[in-house]
Amino acid sequence: MEHIISVTLENKSGALSRVAGLFSGRGFNIESLSVAPTLDPSVSMMTVVTNGDERIIEQILKQLNKIIDVIKVVDLNESDAVSRESALIKVHARSEDRAEALRIADIFRANVIDSSPTSYTIEVTGDVQKIHAIIQLLQPLGIKEIVRTGRIAIAREPVRTVATQSRPLAKAN
């Protein structure tokens, strides 16, 4: 089953490769991954879309938590969350197709952000179904290039963290 996991991590070199290395090294699946700094410049927020059965997802969450650069892990499937993805689509737009391209963009409330005599670049944001749908409709015109952000997601209300690590305790010995 697909899970969207939100990971708060240190914004420092190497942190991203620790997460990426975890997924490749342990054979976990990454559907998409996106990361950018937060309001606190020392912290980044990452959204990982992955899939696996319950046992695998439990391991992924625990393994992410175990990474020292990772501060917090939330499985957004556990709660109500909204997710979005953006895509930039450069589509062939010869004179006879230009109107059709604009019409499709309009239906999806997408923006044309660049144009040339033979092409339009369309920016679209939405859930995965919406992105798939616009791509399907634009395909007959001829898609030259497509770039997608991968999904980002946010919880609708405060959620329980899956952090198994609690407050620091002195080692007794």
Partner: protein
């Protein structure tokens, strides 16, 4: 405040961490650090002949003392050489801090001379790693490195120090404490879960305790013993837990798993409750996962949440330190246990005793035939046990026989490579332990194949006066490989026969160590005594019967109650046909 160079900060920081010994091999980018080390007396620097060995020595030091071992190596090839030891330490949760030299900051990424991506190379095989980019961060980084290596689930940490950082100056301030927001290991277990565990223990009729390396790491031997004695539950040990519970204790069933005892494997298979303490349900232990302990409830105490439910479903997970959790569990049980536990457990113990007597570990030694490896190890054990030795091993059949026949009684006396199974580990690990305890008896049970992966350390042993006693179980084979070929590849010995080993006696002597050879059963005891009396490192070469196989054995992916207990008939027949003859063999006929 006085300004110190990075190299001086390094040395001061190590002193603050109480480091007494480091294992090191120099190179261009770490010369400044070596220069400072050379001019002080508090930290002993042991020069090794290979960085892999420096790493294993640090591991041996750490396993024997419980404190982080320290290695210092150079960039590029120094780093790539130490990777095996880092990976080994990572698999076996050995606390270790490795310092690597790096090309100057300005050259990083330029394919500079002897540059390697030390951070990239070590990322998958360390608990954490640091590249120091500013000399002002060096002291703090070293503090964090030792903290991470030795707390929670211990492991190796790498600190990569570019050359310019070791030369630049900064004020030296050593932090008193560390706090890392993404790293807060849990030591205390949930009281509620502990209560559940106690209830399950009270209800169980066929319980077993299954202890692992976590008991050594947590120093929880006394607590395990109290738990077992109070409840009269039998104790199984993993390869990594040997010594953490006395091997000869009446409640001990010995090692479980692929080459564990018959009774240990039968007990866990037919149990109705498994109390796993600091063990990680490795595939060498579980065998076929789907048929592991079919009727048991499982309690799992582990400090690392990822170990819990990684391979096996757990009914009562308890995240925490073995020692803390067991203290609490024992408190709860002490208040609940009533009645004579011996009496209560009698039916279970009757069954266990039956299994124990049905198939005890056994071997046959004819007095006039070649020495059997088990006999040799048994004799070493009998003749040295009163001296409370530290015992290291290499990897292979000899390792398993050492696990079966050397009944250690104290924690931190058993140095073996379990998770990675690194041939060549034994000798340097023994040297590391001997460096920590100069007056203790340190033994290495080595294989003729494995030992050749690090014999260059004879030089280190001699110069540093580390009088370890290395018994080479010389079967002229990669014996463990040969055993699999005999059992699963119809006896085709692809690359398992070792027909050109050096004369180990002469090899030792060439380095200025002592060499002995023991050839006959009647010479074994005297040979062992003679070796013990030599105040130098000794290689004792013992040609043994070549075709001995290690049993019991659960074939990989097999089920725990289905053990092979002796050479199967087709193998006996095949070997009978070739007369089970020794291979063309020069050493033996001497």
């Amino acid at each position: 405040m006085a300004q110190l160079t990075g190299a001086e900060i390094f040395v001061e920081a190590l002193k603050r961490e109480g480091v007494k010994t480091i294992f090191a091999l120099p190179g261009g980018v770490v010369l400044k650090i070596f220069d400072v080390l050379h001019q002080q007396k508090d930290i002993e620097v042991i020069l090794t002949r290979h960085e892999q060995a420096a790493g294993h020595m640090a591991e041996g030091y750490a396993k024997a003392t419980g404190k982080p071992g320290v290695a210092l190596i150079t960039s590029g090839p120094g780093m790539t050489n130490v990777v095996t030891a880092l990976a080994d330490a990572y698999m076996d949760s050995v606390p270790m801090v490795c310092f690597s030299g790096q090309v100057p900051t300005a050259l990083i990424g330029n394919d500079a001379f002897q540059e390697a991506d030390n951070i990239g190379l070590s990322r998958p095989c360390t608990k954490y790693n640091f590249l120091v980019k500013d000399v002002n961060d060096l002291a703090q980084t070293i503090k964090e490195a030792f903290y991470i290596a030795s707390t929670g689930r211990p492991g190796p940490v790498l600190v990569d120090i570019p050359k310019d950082i070791s030369m630049e100056k900064a004020e030296f301030k050593y932090p008193d404490s560390v706090s890392i927001r993404g790293y807060n290991p849990t030591y205390e277990g949930s009281k509620w879960k502990i209560k559940q565990a106690a209830d399950a223990i009270m209800k169980a009729r066929r319980p077993v305790i299954y202890i692992g390396g976590g008991v050594q790491l947590s120093g929880a031997s006394a607590e395990v013993r109290e738990l077992a004695e109070m409840t009269q539950i039998p104790v199984n040990q993993t390869l990594m837990a040997l010594g953490a519970f006395p091997g000869q204790h009446p409640l001990s069933l010995g090692m479980l798993g692929m080459h564990g005892t018959y009774v240990a494997n039968m007990a866990i298979h037919y149990s109705d409750l498994v109390v796993a303490i600091g063990a990680r349900f490795d595939d060498r232990v579980t065998g076929k996962v789907s048929e592991f302990c079919p009727s048991a409830k499982i309690i799992h105490i582990d400090i690392d949440p990822t170990s819990i439910r990684k391979n096996i479903h757990v009914d009562v997970p308890i995240v925490g330190d073995c020692k803390c959790v067991l203290q609490e569990l024992n408190n709860v049980l002490r208040a609940t246990v009533n009645g004579d536990q011996k009496e209560l457990r009698k039916p279970w113990w009757d069954q266990l005793t039956e299994w124990k007597t049905a198939h005890p570990l056994s071997y046959r030694q004819e007095p006039d035939q070649l020495i059997k490896p088990q006999y040799l190890i048994d004799r070493i054990y009998q003749l040295t046990k009163d001296r409370d030795p530290v015992v290291s091993t290499d990897v292979g059949q000899h390792q398993m026989w050492a696990a079966q026949y050397f009944h250690l009684t104290k924690p931190n006396t058993w140095l073996t490579s379990g998770g990675l199974g690194t041939m060549g580990f034994g000798f340097p690990a023994a040297l590391g332990a001997q460096a920590a305890y100069r007056d203790r008896l340190v033994l290495c049970i080595a294989g003729d194949g494995s030992v050749q992966m690090n014999t260059q350390e004879l030089a280190t042993a001699v110069i540093e006066k580390l009088p370890v006693k290395v018994f080479i179980i010389n079967n002229r084979f990669h014996g463990m490989v040969r055993q699999w070929q005999d059992l699963f590849y119809e006896g085709r010995y692809a690359c398992s026969y070792l027909d050109q080993s050096p004369d180990f006696v002469k090899l030792a002597e060439a380095y200025g160590a002592a060499g002995l050879r023991v050839q006959k059963v009647s010479e074994v005891d005297d040979g062992i005594r003679e070796a013990m009396a030599i105040d130098k490192p000794v290689f004792i070469d013992v040609p043994v019967y070549q075709f001995e196989n290690c049993y019991p054995m659960i074939p990989a992916g097999g089920c725990n109650h289905e053990m092979i207990l002796e050479d199967p008939p087709e193998l006996q027949k095949r070997q009978g046909a070739t007369g089970k003859a020794e291979s063309k063999d020069t050493i033996l006929t001497a």
